[in-house]
Amino acid sequence: MTRFIVGRLIGALVILWLVSIFAFALFFVIPKELGNNPAVLFAGRSPDPATIAGVTRKLGLDRSYVSQYWSFLRGVFAGRHFNSGSDRSWCPAPCLGYSFRNDQPVWSEIVDALPVTASLSIGAAVIFLGAGVSSGVYAAVRRGGWFDRLSAAVSLGGLSLPVYFTGLLLLLLVSYKWHIINNVHYVDFTHNPALWAWNLWPAWLVLSFLYTANYSRLTRASMIETLGEDFVRTARAKGLPERAVIGKHALRPAVTPIVTIFGLDLGVLFGGAILTEHTFGFRGLGAISIDAINTQDLPVTMGVTLFAAFFVIVANVLVDVAYAIIDPRVRPT
């Protein structure tokens, strides 16, 4: 078991390392090779020559790629100075980059924006996992019934609708036509939990609608397969009530694959969250990265990308380990 965990952790570290190289290549190597000066991209949109020179010095852009990557990597663990002679900025660990445009480390911007994205994603995840799994189970059990067919249709709808279209439609109804919420904006949980939830529920609904569909179908398929297994037949043969058969025996093995898929889906959930944030005007990680791209503030984009990748990878490891603990069949020998 320990070997398994250690193995997964090492695998995760390797992937993280590869992601960092991938990001480094994307933000430092590619621009240079294609004729864009990375200093320009990092300083924020066509700045004057003095600023460009300063940024080049600070980031060490005139050094070799290996040397730059090493500084970057070291900065992540130990913090980093951005020094250009006349001024010096300190970026504490974990230093995922320094936004020269905003004069602050990317990490602090991420920390500021994280609660918004987290609120949106976690809330939606609770809804779609709950609704998805339960509707999938019900559809599997009442296979062929009206609920099964209805949920299949709704699932298909959810998968086919772009999340920002549904979001706009919902905004139109909730804000403009029915005046349920007058001005949707993010309220911090610590300020007012009730208002926090009240402003978020349309976004939760929209984001979860997209994924409920998927999880419902997956659960249904998985449940159907599990229900066809021998041990279920045995349980039925033993005379157990159907509810116990489903609830106690079939549910857990049917649902555990969903957990793995959820882990893998986190990256996609982040993409959905970005779009939803943009539709509702919430200033989360998605909004700051899009802003960063529009103002060519690449440190922020890179920092958020790394952070998101890190988060997804770690979550996947946790999910895999949890899955292995729950289901002995999965552990490698």
Binding site: G44, P47, D87, N102, N183, T295
Partner: protein, 582 residues
């Protein structure tokens, strides 16, 4: 001044529609300084109140270009600077006037030769840290303007009129004087007195003394290029927290003595500016009263305008519709091919559909009137002419095509149009793209964030050339009420800078420059009028700048905002008077 790209230009921009302008504000003497003349009706203050308290919630889509008073050149940023900086003189806190009144100085002086100007400072004025403000602090602020490699972005009047070309002053960072006060043309015989010795006569000098560039700067707290992140206040408020591009909040400055200040009401206890908002979000928040006013003051978006026009009670109580005196125009870059050929530029001037521009900005209510001159109607010496006439102002495609043939590009060509990334300017850019497509010019639009657009994208000629930007959207208003203050920075060939440039098209026409000088030094109204009309015709005729609209702003504010009125000084509401308690 840019307004939200407009630069503030104070001034005698009188709204022709119903806002009166008191007779010439401030200094006179010398030609070229003039306030608008006509008065019609009495301007009123909406929701007057003297009640203090509360937090003023300001909303903005973008941060200021700079918070360093020596570098900012946005109208709404000059208006906001009133919270944290005071100048020698400033504008009277009354609607419909651009009259100057004393602020840090005891009075608004006159000068017999228009070259020597002496100001006496009030007693008891202090920085936010309690240090008394002396004339040396003002001199230091003036000197900073000379270090144009570090401190750039603002207007260049101080260098223009105080520098000695034979012996140019290098700025305080390279100043050999141990006290860094080596600028000889500014005298500070004692802590309360400051005397300016101009290198040529200039009747409008008092207006220059109202611009944030003369706000005092504590030498020990000057951090050069980083001062913009933490300027020291001399005004009624001080910065509590500044998160660039996100928010800035102000609290009361404990060392501001109200007895020394006849201008700032300082009613709210706290001011919070939230930036980086989507413009539609700003409109929605204002409508829902979760924000008090839009800092950019360029009016609501077209969608909200449609909504407000259908709601007469909100429209009457919470909106203002003002002719701001700003000009919206298109820069046609004379150093980017093929616009180095005047006929290619004239092709653009003929092809533009100005009614489409008006529609893009909200029609007559929100967009303004079609413009054919660079001097706007509220500014003195405005005269109407149209060098590129077309039926219904929709553009003359036939003439445009013949101009294209004349410049050797009969089948059109490709170019890039720069624009800001949000708001109505995008719609304007797309309308230009459509209009020029009619004559075969293929336009690619490139958008930039507003806080960087002027300082980094089109304000650096080298970048303009490198990126092949042939066209750029622009807007401008007078720094103070005179055609000189309106036009000089943007069309004078001698004002082309390598960074912080405002003459985007790099127009360098000796006829323009010569007539600007003639206008400034004219001794009679007739001569001044002749000179300024000649300047305007030369600019428009060069087609380096194509006037699009005489700007109007249809603004929305919350139901609790008090003391709302349009001031010609900044071409928008006077923020320093706002309160939030009715």
């Amino acid at each position: 001044m840019k307004r939200r790209v407009f630069l503030i230009r104070a001034g005698a921009l009188v709204a022709a529609a119903g806002l009166a302008l008191a007779a010439c504000g401030g200094s006179s003497g010398g030609g070229g300084s003039a306030s608008a003349s006509s008065s019609s009706g009495t301007p009123t203050i909406a929701h007057p109140s003297t009640k203090k308290g509360g937090t003023l919630q300001a909303l903005n889509d973008s941060d200021c270009d700079y918070w360093d008073p020596g570098r900012t050149y946005y109208a709404n940023c000059w208006d906001q600077q009133r919270w944290i900086s005071r100048e020698l003189v400033t504008f009277a806190p009354r609607p419909g006037t651009a009259e100057l009144v004393p602020d840090l100085a005891t009075s608004v002086p006159t000068s017999s030769d228009l070259k020597t100007w002496k100001y006496t400072l009030k007693k008891g004025i202090k920085f936010q840290d309690g240090t008394p403000i002396t004339s040396k602090d003002i001199k230091y602020a003036v000197e900073r303007e000379f270090a144009s490699d570090v401190i750039n972005g603002g207007p260049t009047y101080l260098v223009d009129y105080l520098d000695d070309p034979a012996n140019p002053y290098p700025g305080p960072y390279k100043d050999p004087d141990p006290n860094k006060l080596g600028l000889k043309t500014v005298e500070t015989p004692d802590d309360q007195t400051i005397i300016f010795h101009l290198n040529k006569a200039f009747g409008d000098w008092n207006y220059v003394m109202s611009v944030p560039i003369v706000a005092p700067v504590e030498k020990s707290k000057d951090t050069g290029a980083n001062y913009t992140f933490n300027p020291v206040s001399s005004g009624p408020y001080q910065i509590e927290k500044y998160v660039p591009n996100k928010s800035i909040s102000f609290v009361r400055n404990p060392n501001w003595d109200p007895s020394t200040d006849t201008v700032n009401k300082a009613l709210p206890d706290k001011i919070v500016v939230t930036m980086g908002l989507d413009l539609d979000d700003v409109d929605n928040r204002l409508f829902a009263n979760t924000g008090d006013f839009y800092v950019g003051q360029t009016g609501v978006q077209v969608a909200m305008q449609a909504k407000l026009l259908a709601d007469p009670s909100v429209r009457a109580d919470r909106t203002s519709d003002d002719i701001t005196g700003f000009i919206r125009y298109l820069s046609v870059m004379t150093k980017v091919k093929p616009f180095d050929n005047i006929h290619c530029r004239m092709a653009v001037a003929y092809a533009i559909d100005k009614t489409a521009q008006q529609l893009a900005r909200g029609g007559p209510v929100g967009g303004g009137a079609v413009a054919t001159t660079m001097i706007t109607p509220p500014v003195k010496y405005y005269s109407s002419f149209n060098l590129f006439p077309s039926a219904g102002d929709k553009g003359d495609v036939a003439k445009a095509k013949s101009e294209l043939a004349a410049c050797g590009q009969p089948n059109g060509f490709s170019t890039t149009l720069a624009s800001r990334s949000n708001g109505k300017e995008v719609a304007q850019a797309e309308a230009i793209q459509a209009a020029l497509a009619r004559i075969g010019i293929k336009v690619t639009i490139t958008k930039s964030a507003p806080s960087q657009y002027f300082s980094s994208v089109i304000g650096i000629p080298a970048n303009v050339h490198k990126n092949g930007i042939g066209l750029a959207m622009a807007a401008w208003g007078p720094d103070w009420p005179s055609p000189y203050a309106m036009l000089d920075s943007i069309v004078d060939g001698r004002k082309i800078l390598s960074a912080g440039n405002s003459n985007y098209a790099e127009l360098n026409d000796p006829v323009v420059d010569k007539n600007i000088d003639a206008g400034v030094s004219a001794t009679s109204d007739g001569a001044a009028q002749e000179a300024w009309t000649a300047v305007d015709k030369a600019i428009v005729g060069s087609a380096a700048y194509v006037p699009l609209l005489y700007d109007k702003a249809f603004n929305l504010f919350s139901d609790r905002l008090t003391n709302v009125y349009f001031t010609p000084a900044y071409g928008m509401a006077d923020f320093a008077q706002f309160g939030v308690v009715k």
